[in-house]
Symmetry: C2
Subunit: 204 residues, 2 copies
């Protein structure tokens, strides 16, 4: 097997290290966060750190690196306390990736891609039109991670839109029916196909 | 589209709600955490909340629900300060899922599945033999999430083993070459196929 010790890791060049460490924890969620500033400037940014945190209350978490790309997202979330989470389908990979480019705050990624903002249900932030799963989320709390200066945002899931055909009888949302993608590392996009569902596991 | 408001969510039955909320944040990582108690009792448990937290230092995070299934994992991590993270391949889905059954602390999931513990490089916790990606991790910190009583563990990635053929020239690990799976919701397993890698995005 290929092997790296912590000493090896420390001696790697920056790009190699980022590629390696970003891919070795497994597949990541792929989401576009839609937000808007108090002045009305819309923002759209791809995130791969959104994680299910709990079902009751319905909570998710995400990491923000205040000094890096999605700083507009962070600022907007703090200002407005609401944002949207929108899933990415296979045919939108290029545009979704492009939202990671560093645009000034006054330039909307909606204008630089084919994504269109959609406002509905009086939600205070733009959804991504035609996204198969759209969540309206509220800022709840923030935890500063002292080990690397990141912040973890905790948000509640307030409203949910799901394209017809994905939601199954028992509440499970079959993401593969929306051609929803996942991220491997920093810049690789993969399309999962469902293998199987299993029953609640009991001791044998 | 199917639509749920927070009022709808509150009125759903428990299973429906768990299925729904677990699947709407996107695909999740699929990992087996190997650990061992001070008394030498091994434990293996599937987790879907392991997330990349940073590359320098190399950090990951995971959520533990102290009163739910993986409580032995949590106890072992706190006792020994080390654990392992092992990726799950398509042919091991059934055994991996079975590690979520509630066994007593003195029963090892290694004895109840075909997974075999592997000790190497003097690491103080068992790896899963033949897993395509194996990480030796150290407990660094814990953040109590007051919103739902979960804890987020922050751990450093200290040693890395990768099956030959997955590691690419620039450090990227192509998980699809190990038939590594991802999780959709609570109990559905999916196999991703790489669609494309994209270059670093710049404003246009």
């Amino acid at each position: 097997m290929d092997f790296f010790s912590s000493e090896n890791l420390d001696s790697l060049n920056k790009i190699y290290r980022i590629n390696l460490v970003n891919s070795i924890t497994g597949y990541k969620s792929a989401n576009l966060i839609g937000s808007i500033s108090n002045k009305g400037a819309e923002n759209l940014a791809i995130f791969s750190s959104i994680t299910h945190l709990g079902s009751n209350p319905a909570l998710l978490s995400l990491f923000v690196r205040p000094n890096v790309v999605p700083r507009n997202t962070y600022k907007n979330i703090k200002e407005k306390k609401v944002f949207t989470v929108n899933h990415i389908s296979k045919e939108k990979i290029d545009d979704a990736h492009h939202t990671s480019a560093k645009y000034d705050e006054n330039i909307s990624e909606f204008d630089k891609t084919n994504f269109q903002p959609e406002y509905k249900e009086n939600w205070g932030a733009p959804f991504v039109k035609d996204s198969a799963v759209q969540l309206g989320c509220k800022y709840v709390d923030e935890y500063y991670i002292k080990e690397n200066g990141c912040s973890m945002i905790v948000a509640s899931i307030e409203i949910i839109f799901i394209r017809k055909g994905l939601l199954q009888n028992d509440g499970w949302v079959d993401l593969s029916k929306g051609d929803i993608i996942t991220i491997n590392g920093l810049d690789a996009y993969a399309l999962p196909e469902t293998v199987k569902r299993l029953k609640y596991a009991r001791p044998k």
